[in-house]
């Protein structure tokens, strides 16, 4: 049986097709579902193995990126989402989806219950939207989506991707509790400055994982790096991989493998 992924769609979601394609390519079954359908009845959430909130501008990012959808999910779909994670399901938020998860308080998810926002993703230091490729290192021991120590190159495209923890205690808990999943790194090593850290994220955080390892949010777009030809330097041989695959495919394959058990 293929694991069932529910790819959530709302007004302004715009990466749902390629995200669903990435999941299908990895061996999953992906269904794109409009949030309006879930608001009428959440059975689709109870029947799926994973919830994926793709990139885009849900509700135009009016108020702040991901905020309106976060309020909607918190007030109307909190229970089925919590149930999904508790029964071993996965939640993945990419870019705008990550912003939604952080604003719902699901990430970094140091303290239960969800609904208490511990961190935020705010305006880039450059104060503008930027599309560029970044170098990342995967540092989480427990995320089911990525393996520790892996170096990755992925694209990102956002205006509000700067991770800021609520206070020093949260900052420490995120670092010490293993909630950092992905970090921006500099090409030549050392602390990444702009544009290697493209948005000014505190502690160079590019992605967060919750306590269970089953909820992941990240600013980069793995679904835009499925193929070798997605890489901006593919014509000069990068990324150094013999296959037709790009680095982003790993996230989806790992998720499918985890759900298959």
């Amino acid at each position: 049986m293929k694991p069932r992924f529910l790819v959530l769609r709302a007004a302004g979601t715009n990466c749902d097709l390629e995200t669903a394609f990435a999941l299908e390519s990895a061996g999953g079954h992906a269904e794109r579902v409009h949030v309006n359908r879930l608001l009428q009845g959440a059975t689709a959430l109870d029947e799926c193995d994973a919830l994926v909130i793709p990139g885009g501008f849900s509700y135009g990012d009016d108020i702040a990126a991901g905020k309106v959808l976060a309020v909607e999910l918190l007030h109307h779909l909190r229970d089925p989402i919590v149930r999904l994670v508790e029964r071993g399901g996965l939640v993945l938020g990419i870019c705008n989806g990550f912003q939604v998860l952080v604003k719902m308080g699901m990430l970094p998810g140091i303290a239960a219950p969800i609904g208490l926002q511990e961190a935020t993703l705010t305006d880039n230091d450059s104060s503008r939207y930027e599309d560029r490729w970044v170098r990342l290192v995967s540092v989480s021991e427990r995320s089911v989506f990525c393996r520790p120590g892996e170096r990755l190159e992925l694209p990102l495209a956002h205006a509000e991707g700067k991770y800021v923890p609520r206070d020093a205690a949260v900052r420490r808990a995120v670092l010490e509790g293993g909630h950092v999943a992905l970090r921006y790194v500099a090409a030549g090593g050392g602390a990444p400055s702009y544009p290697d850290n493209p948005n000014g994220s505190v502690d160079h955080v590019a992605g967060l994982v919750d306590r269970t390892g089953r909820v992941l949010g990240l600013m980069p777009h793995p679904e835009r790096a499925l193929l070798r030809v997605h890489h901006p330097a593919w014509t000069c041989g990068a990324p150094a991989a013999p296959s037709e695959e790009g680095h982003g495919a790993r996230f989806f394959r790992n998720a499918v493998q985890y759900l298959r058990g």
């Binding site: 509700y59 135009g60 926002q117 104060s127 599309d131 490729w133 400055s193 702009y194 505190v202 835009r224």
Partner: protein, 983 residues
């Protein structure tokens, strides 16, 4: 049931960043204010304001502020009742408010309403605004004026420095009182014209006379709505009557200029892969067994001149709806944008009165395309920016869209008894007279008089409409669709009903606010609307589907078989037009054109002492310098299909010639999208400029791996008033060039658009833009894994220059640096160009080249430098090896290093070829002028030997790259990372 008004109260919630966290918007605002001339601004804090009319009183507003409107981590907030104002933090002395004027679209209010309701509160209305708290000694009026230039636009916003009084969340307006207006058409020609002028109809005397005769036969006078409908349909913007009219030039007479040149070439070429040309909202070409590709480029010049952000945003919104309205609805897969603006560093006293400074225009249009395109989720993957002083008062904004249309969904047509359904945004007073406005010249009072023609788009409304449209299309719920663009419902319904008839009631159209007259509803150009023809049996299914996607759809009438366009307002008929007259009754225009003359002589420039310095200056010239600051703000990778991105190479610094896109997630088949534009050549010879634009557009897509035998083209003409014979003459010569180039290269035009009357009038007189031709190109790519980029790949490769170099410097970037145009315009040899393009295809397809770059603006020197950027490699080149020819009418000798380096001779490619492939490559190029002119080197340095054998240029690539990158970089992160987190 709406809530009882007594329970509703209004509050403002003002949100700002908490001390200790960085306020990126405030930092950016401070930098912009300084640029705009405000002195003494020490710090700026940004405020996001929300004005709410809600139930539940102050307690509800407090709850919403905490849980919905403010960020729990970084923000603080205040809830303010009527008359209350936010206390200024210590050290802050002034406040600037930027508030949208009544009736201007406030897209963010929609999200606020949705979130507030999701949070369980009852809300009636919301508006958003922004404010800036300013610390320092800035003088109040200077600050306000700088704010009006930098933080808002008085065409659509109030810029207030009065401390920020209450912002009324509710737009109150009284319902319109119905009164049918009949316009008597007088005998006197003078008074007849006055009616056109007074109504802003832009109808000529001949046209008004034709209308008068038509209604005399019917023995009645037209209503205001009928006159408006005719004016919209006959506008230059919709009808292109000048270029489809009769033109006499140089003894040749065209009865229909475009038909006998550009269309005729397409017909003569008769390519089987051209599916639909010059008939639908976009041109359509075959892609694979399942899909066709659509392509269209539009201009949105006049709205962008007055409000660059809104103008460019609604420009991209409009062209996306063109794609959505092609066939039964294509899905947009890529966008292009090309801007022509004044020089970014133009001194303020050189900006014509009433016009916006060029940098302001550029930043505004970039932000407009960014915010609309990114929200729609369409990659903006190709474009260009050109700077010329003559674009200052009248900038050009070209927005293009590529779409994917299922094969078999090309044909469409409303049938009698189908319902007329309008879907998407509500109708307001916005954008009234856009079609006729764009057909006039701009003047110094345009900003105030025509601000109704300017709008702010709502990208999310259009995204919802797109999602719903594609679902409805695939379920076969409608028979025809078109977008509501210029002319609004009058044009959209009039066009769909052309072959049958329609009977509609404007009273059914959903309105943003009360108070619109029936004529205003009918011609409003409110954005994000489309019209569908829906068979009655699908009405329920379509309305339900649209509702499930949060798209409002309303039946406003029926298509008929009467051949008449009947418009009602409730019970009263307010329009009853003969569709044949509406679409075919416009009097034919006949104009005299004159051959344009070159405006400069050939200069005699000495060879520069340092070619290295010269090359750096060229790389920093705005027309050549890196557009990375712009490109990075566009999402060029959404949809996961962009395979060749705007910048190539390991460090993504080498500018690409064209975007290569893989439209299907499950296939490697692709398209290459490029463009060609260079108005400077037209100052010498518009015909040569036309050939050069086509040559460049084809060259770009071929250089990236596109098939030379599968190139489709679009033409976009922009010019001043064609009542001036020499301007019409330039346009006519361009049209002839398009015809000749298309025929010779086998590249048909599939769609096009013109925008005339691009002039700016102030006290000093009327100034026309340089006549401009944008050629957009789309080529088939059999397998995107064979695409080639421009960046150098390896040490020790041969650098092979294909094509011949002549002393062709007229209109070049090198001459422009010296303020000259010259005469020695590059000449295209069309026969050789065709062979050259085919040969490059052969090379790339045979994987014989590692890199390929077209040689264009700035010539060989610039091309070489661009190929080295970000690669870590360098090049050693011997100019004596460059294949040269005398030419250019013998104006100059080519025997000089600077001329070889900076000439802009067409149809040239610079290729990197591995030594082991060189023999095979040269075999493919047999018979064409080419030579190995040098080698790539491990040292990142350009080393050029001159004709006398000496080293004439020896520059580190890094220095060249700095010049290239810095010129148009309008800001790196402003906020110091020190304030980047909790302390």
């Amino acid at each position: 049931m709406p809530p009882a008004p007594s329970a509703v109260s209004s509050f403002r919630v003002e949100v700002l960043v908490r001390p200790g966290f960085s306020d990126a918007r405030g930092h950016a605002a401070r930098a912009e204010l300084e640029l705009a001339g405000a002195r003494g601004v020490d710090a700026v804090l940004s405020v996001r304001g929300f004005s709410l009319a809600l139930q539940g009183g102050r307690a509800a507003a407090e709850r919403l502020a905490a849980a919905v409107l403010a960020d729990a981590v970084t923000d603080t907030w205040a809830v303010l009742g009527g008359g209350e104002t936010l206390p200024l933090p210590a050290g802050f002395t002034q406040r600037i408010d930027v508030v949208k004027k009544a009736g201007v679209m406030d897209p963010a209010a929609e999200g606020v309403l949705r979130a507030v309701r999701a949070a369980g509160e009852e809300i009636v209305a919301a508006r958003t605004y922004s404010a800036f708290l300013v610390a320092g000694e800035a003088e109040a009026e200077e600050l306000r004026q700088a704010a009006a230039r930098a933080l808002g636009n008085e065409a659509i916003e109030e810029i207030r420095a009065d401390g920020g009084g209450p912002v009324e969340p509710l737009a109150r307006s009284a319902p319109a009182r119905f009164a049918r207006v009949v316009v008597e058409l007088p005998e006197s020609d003078e008074r007849l014209l006055a009616i056109s002028a007074r109504g802003g109809l832009s109808l000529s005397l001949e046209e008004m006379q034709a209308i008068r005769s038509h209604f005399r036969v019917a023995a009645r006078a037209p209503t205001d709505l009928e006159l408006e409908t005719i004016a919209q349909t006959w506008s230059e913007h919709c009808k292109h009557k000048t270029l489809t009219g009769a033109v006499e030039i140089d003894g040749r007479r065209y009865e229909n200029l475009l038909h006998e040149t550009i269309f005729a070439a397409t017909r003569a070429l008769d390519r089987p892969w051209c599916v639909s040309v010059f008939s639908d909202n976009a041109g359509v070409v075959a892609f694979d067994d399942d899909f066709h590709v659509t392509f269209k480029v539009e201009t949105h010049n006049h709205p962008s001149a007055i409000e660059p952000y809104g103008g460019a945003g609604t420009g991209i919104g409009g062209v996306l709806r063109d794609t959505m309205g092609t066939g039964l609805g294509a899905k947009p897969i890529a966008s292009t944008d090309v801007f022509c603006v004044g020089p970014p560093d133009l001194a303020p006293d050189q900006v014509p009165q009433g016009a916006l400074p060029p940098l302001r225009v550029l930043k505004g249009v970039v932000a407009g395309v960014r915010d609309y395109g990114n929200r729609m989720g369409i990659p903006t993957a190709n474009g260009a920016v050109l700077f010329d002083r003559r674009f200052t008062g009248n900038p050009l904004v070209f927005c293009g869209s590529v779409g994917l249309l299922p094969a078999g969904m090309v044909a469409k047509g409303a049938r009698p008894d189908d319902l007329v359904v309008v879907a998407g945004g509500k109708t307001g007073r916005d954008g009234i007279h856009g079609a006729t406005f764009s057909s006039r010249e701009l003047h110094s009072a345009s900003e105030t008089l025509d601000s109704g023609a300017v709008q702010i788009g709502n990208a999310i409304a259009e995204k919802r409409l797109l999602d719903a449209l594609l679902l409805a299309r695939d379920r076969g719920l409608y028979t025809c669709v078109t977008d509501c663009g210029a002319g609004g419902l009058s044009s959209a319904v009039g066009e769909m009903a052309a072959a049958c008839g329609a009977d509609v009631d404007v009273e059914q159209v959903p309105l943003k606010y009360a108070g619109l007259s029936y004529a205003e509803i009918w011609i409003s150009e409110a954005q994000e609307r489309m019209v569908f023809a829906v068979p009655p049996e699908h009405e329920a299914a379509l309305l339900e589907l649209f509702a499930s996607e949060d798209v409002e759809a309303t039946v406003i009438g029926r298509f008929t078989a009467t051949g008449r366009l009947v418009v009602r307002c409730g019970g009263a008929v307010v329009g009853d037009l003969d569709l044949d007259f509406l679409h075919h009754g416009v009097p034919r225009v006949a104009r005299q054109a004159a051959l344009p003359r070159a405006r400069d002589d050939e200069p005699d420039l000495p060879c520069p002492e340092s070619l290295g310095d010269a090359l750096q200056r060229l790389l920093a010239a705005p027309n050549i310098a890196s557009k990375a600051w712009i490109v990075r703000q566009y999402d060029h990778e959404v949809l996961a299909g962009t395979v060749v991105k705007p910048f190539a190479g390991r460090e993504q610094q080498a500018p690409a010639d064209a975007a290569v896109i893989k439209p299907r997630l499950d296939s490697y088949r692709g398209i290459a999208v490029g463009c060609g534009i260079n108005p400077a050549y037209g100052d010498i010879d518009p015909y040569e400029m036309g050939l050069l634009a086509v040559d460049e557009a084809v060259r770009n897509v071929v250089a990236a791996g596109g098939r030379a035998d599968r190139v489709a083209l679009l033409d976009n003409f922009c010019a001043g008033s064609c009542e001036r014979p020499e301007i019409l003459g330039a346009v006519a010569r361009l049209a002839e060039a398009c015809r000749d180039a298309a025929l010779a290269l086998g590249a048909p035009f599939i769609s096009g658009k013109d925008s005339l009357n691009n002039e700016y009038r102030d006290a000093a007189g009327s100034a026309a833009i340089p006549t401009t031709l944008l050629i957009s190109s789309l080529a088939h790519v059999d397998d995107v894994r064979r695409a080639v980029t421009s960046d150098l790949k390896r040490v020790g490769s041969a650098l092979l220059l294909l094509g011949v170099t002549r002393a062709e410097l007229g209109g070049s970037a090198w001459y422009a640096l010296h303020g000259r145009v010259g005469r020695s315009v590059p000449r295209v040899d069309l026969e050789r160009a065709r062979e050259t393009f085919a040969a490059v295809c052969g090379l790339l397809n045979g994987r014989l080249a590692l890199a390929c770059h077209d040689v264009a603006d700035g010539g060989l020197g610039v091309a070489l430098a661009e190929m080295a950027f970000g690669t870590g490699l360098g090049a050693e080149v011997d100019l004596a090896l460059v294949p040269c020819e005398d030419g250019a009418g013998g104006l100059l000798s080519v025997e000089r290093d600077d001329r070889i380096l900076f000439a802009e001779s067409p149809t040239r490619f610079l290729l990197e070829v591995a030594p082991e492939r060189l023999a095979a490559a040269r075999e493919v190029l047999f018979g064409l002028p080419h030579a190995v002119i040098g080698r790539t080197s491990a040292e990142p340095r350009l080393a050029l030997r001159g004709l006398r054998g000496a080293l004439v240029l020896n520059e580190p690539v890094a220095a060249l790259q700095r010049a290239f990158a810095a010129a148009l970089d309008f800001g790196s992160p402003a906020a110091p990372p020190a304030a980047g987190g909790p302390r």
